[in-house]
Symmetry: C3
Subunit: 368 residues, 3 copies
């Protein structure tokens, strides 16, 4: 399905794919044919490469890529004469986004070939659009809806009354529980589980009484969900993932969470029940979010950080123990349980010093 084209044609394609919002200046060999994408250091004459992370700047001058897309600033610094012997330059304000659209054009995904593998088990009461694709050994439950252009991978199960929106692809082995709904143009990777029961139990008589989880999961349009990620159904009321959310692998979203549009969540993150995460947030890998808290729109949380309270103000938050040589860690970490003692000793010294030398009296109100 690859769509080889010249650098100049690619610039036209990107402008179209981006809705006219992304234009570029092609410098040099604009008639060069491109077929694929590759990193700067391994690209060949038929590949498009990009420079966005300054870490890789040194690789650009020597790259054999047919074309390199980069910002005007980098272009000026690296190729001040607008000349690159090995091929073309594509100068663009948003080189990474330009590369993304260009790669989409070159890879040329498009709609699946419709049809139903004879080994799939589709309930009589399921409504599968004629333009959908159902792969081998998938199971579609009674009352489930699979819309036009949806693609259900091998061995998936779509539960009773669940819905998979138009153009959404479930890779192999995805499990969608009863009544859960996924919007349009989504991608769900292998092994993801949508709609398992939330973890709800009432303590009683030394044991636990299960709270039936009567809500579902409601996922918007243009959402991507990573492999083996789990999103639990609501206890009463739904777990909601808004449009354009991107979730990486091995993420756990508990019951009744709400994740705002455009938020990106990296791998191994855990989000406890009823957390409300705003729009356009970025949650770093393995961060953990407590339940029943709110995170403001546009908040950024560092990888590995535990968020234990509401973040009412957007900002960049971190809470990670710094990496040390183990012997340094042993020397220092044991003191963390004595910080309050150390502060107390510091206060006593300050008071003693103030007695001897009043000019050095501490300003108590500024102290922690």
């Amino acid at each position: 399905m690859a769509a080889a084209c010249t650098v100049a044609e690619l610039a036209v394609a990107v402008e179209r794919l981006s809705g006219g919002r992304l234009s570029a200046r092609v410098l040099g060999a604009s008639a060069l044919p491109l077929e694929a994408v590759a990193p700067l250091d391994s690209a060949g004459p038929c590949d498009l490469a990009f420079l966005a992370n300054p870490r890789y700047r040194a690789q650009a001058p020597a790259s054999r890529a047919g074309a390199i897309v980069l910002s005007p600033t980098e272009r000026t610094a690296l190729f001040p004469l607008e000349i690159r012997a090995q091929g073309a330059l594509v100068e663009c304000e948003a080189p990474y986004a330009w590369f993304a659209f260009a790669a989409q054009h070159l890879v040329g995904a498009g709609a699946p070939v419709p049809g139903r593998d004879p080994s799939a088990v589709v309930a009589a009461g399921a409504r599968v659009d004629a333009g959908a694709r159902i792969e081998a050994l998938a199971v579609i439950g009674d009352g489930a809806v699979v819309e036009e252009g949806a693609w259900i991978g091998a061995g998936c199960s779509v539960g009773t009354n669940a819905r998979v929106g138009a153009g959404t692809r479930l890779h192999a082995g995805v499990r969608v529980y009863e009544g859960c709904r996924i919007g349009r143009r989504g991608i769900v990777h292998a092994g993801a589980v949508i709609g398992a029961d939330g973890f709800g139990f009432a303590p009683f008589a030394g044991g636990w009484v299960k709270i039936p989880q009567t809500g579902a999961v409601r996922i918007g349009d243009d959402v991507e969900i990573g492999a083996n990620t789990t999103i639990d159904r609501g206890s009463a009321g739904d777990t909601v993932i808004e449009d354009g959310v991107k979730i990486d692998n091995q993420v756990q979203v508990a019951h009744n969470c709400h994740i705002g549009a455009g938020t990106a969540i990296a791998g191994c993150v855990g989000i406890a029940g009823s957390a409300f995460i705003g729009r356009n947030c970025q949650i770093g890998g393995a961060a953990m979010i407590h339940g029943h808290i709110r995170i403001a729109d546009g908040t950024i949380v560092s990888a590995g950080t535990l968020v234990s309270r509401t973040l009412a103000e957007p900002g960049f938050y971190t809470g990670v123990f710094p990496l040390l040589r183990h012997r340094e860690w042993e020397r220092n970490a044991a003191l963390i349980g004595h910080l309050a003692d150390l502060r107390g000793r510091l206060r006593r010294l300050e008071r003693a010093m103030a007695g001897i030398s009043p000019a050095n009296a501490p300003q108590e109100e500024r102290q922690p």
Copy 2:
């Protein structure tokens, strides 16, 4: 399968489900018919809602729920006249447990419709009870036992000589390895893997030699296991999950762990090999438990805490880096590797001060 009933009938049903241990006082419209459960803020006239978390207290007076279950204390504070214009009040010492049983009655799960989907692959030597349900494309291995009322979901595999106890439900795509046993009335969510090899290798000649994992997994009665959770088989001897344990999604239980009855483990927890966790513990989300340690009965571990040593005394343990604005984190975290130096400087100052002003001599024996 829903079982609509009046508030008064529901109180009778809960008393029965709880084995007579949970009674309630119904105030007001006891003949009102209830059909479902809902949160306080979205419940309607046919819904039961509950108030257990004080965070949601303010929602109770305005709730349109047909009935609200709450504690005598909350009832007295919020509805001192025992009157609620919108519907009934259910006063109960354990409102959350009452709600749980009531929801079970209203949702009305019950036993599955028995039968075997023709697409399932059941070995000739498997023993599947006539009262069990085997869904599409499940695989039941030779010598495996599926007891009465067990429910094997779509695409599950139950290995050779494995056993699924009476009334236990495996949701879609659960994998039970050879020889592993799950007790009665359990629930295992999609994608869980029971009995994969433990991570056991002996270092040898610069590489690793695999230790065959010859034990299995033995799971008690009334255990719930979350989606994509993994419980490894023992290396020699079994991994044991006792009765009534509740495990959330994406939890990893390594080989030869022992988890005591009634313990609850939240999502994303990892438990290393041969850890012994007592009864009625609560392990917070993403906590990590080292191998070969013991945790006393009734211990509570905070979310995100790494437990690196035996906890012989029950209690509430925490070890989490506090959340900071990133710029505050940068200012302060770097000092953690210098705490021992800071303490040294403090000691020198204390000694100098003692030379000048002996009354301020530090009490060395009390210092960390």
Copy 3:
């Protein structure tokens, strides 16, 4: 498939399995027949047990095991007379490795029975070796290659043009995406996902543009991958797992990572994109590795540690908040955000002290 044998025969088998590199001295009842392996405290007369972890030393003298393998040092300390009433002793410099090979011999895995279950769905264009085993309801895509002695478990899917090397076993429900390659003699546990899209999006106009992930996953020989682990395909260029790497359950390896030969990665680890991990590293459970960094050969990272920068020097690194009683944590953790203030106050005191008593002037250059 178990292969019972005497202690003496087992010593010969281990020497052969280890390529002649592992010999042992059998003391005592060398003609005793062994059938299985078991821990010291539960082994019986037909079991082999081992002593490698000093934690279990006290169990050795009373063990009823038919044979115990242990180091010369432990043998001398525990059985100075080279006599053990209950059975044999096996003295060996590498007792754990000896035990591993011995257990492999006793368990006797070997090659699978070849054949293809009639319920499997194998594309016409797939090349499945006659010596491979394909279990029930597996799906093998067009152009996929399954080599001799490979074993594809129930419900697996092997994507278009993917390759499973000779002697490699995929347990139930493994998902291998299009074009990914697994080497020889590997083991992949249930629910693992090889080759899902990396998490790559370019920010654009308030949303995210997907970067097509055009690379694949390339896994070497003798690699073991745990249950529900995920290894993403490269964005451009492959994600590479070298020979002899051992990966536990629930690990996430992001796109374009490179993991060097012989490295072992414990459960719940997350590795962000383009991280380069050297050879023979050991990464503890739930450690998290940032993207675009390098870790030197032979590095050891503690469980729960976040590695946020390149580790150019091998060593033992840790970054974990120490476990505290919760009330101690509350007293002390709050001060972490004030460490810079505490240091500032210490400096002021040092200067004041230097004014009073110049002999105590701080050595500024040694301070953090």
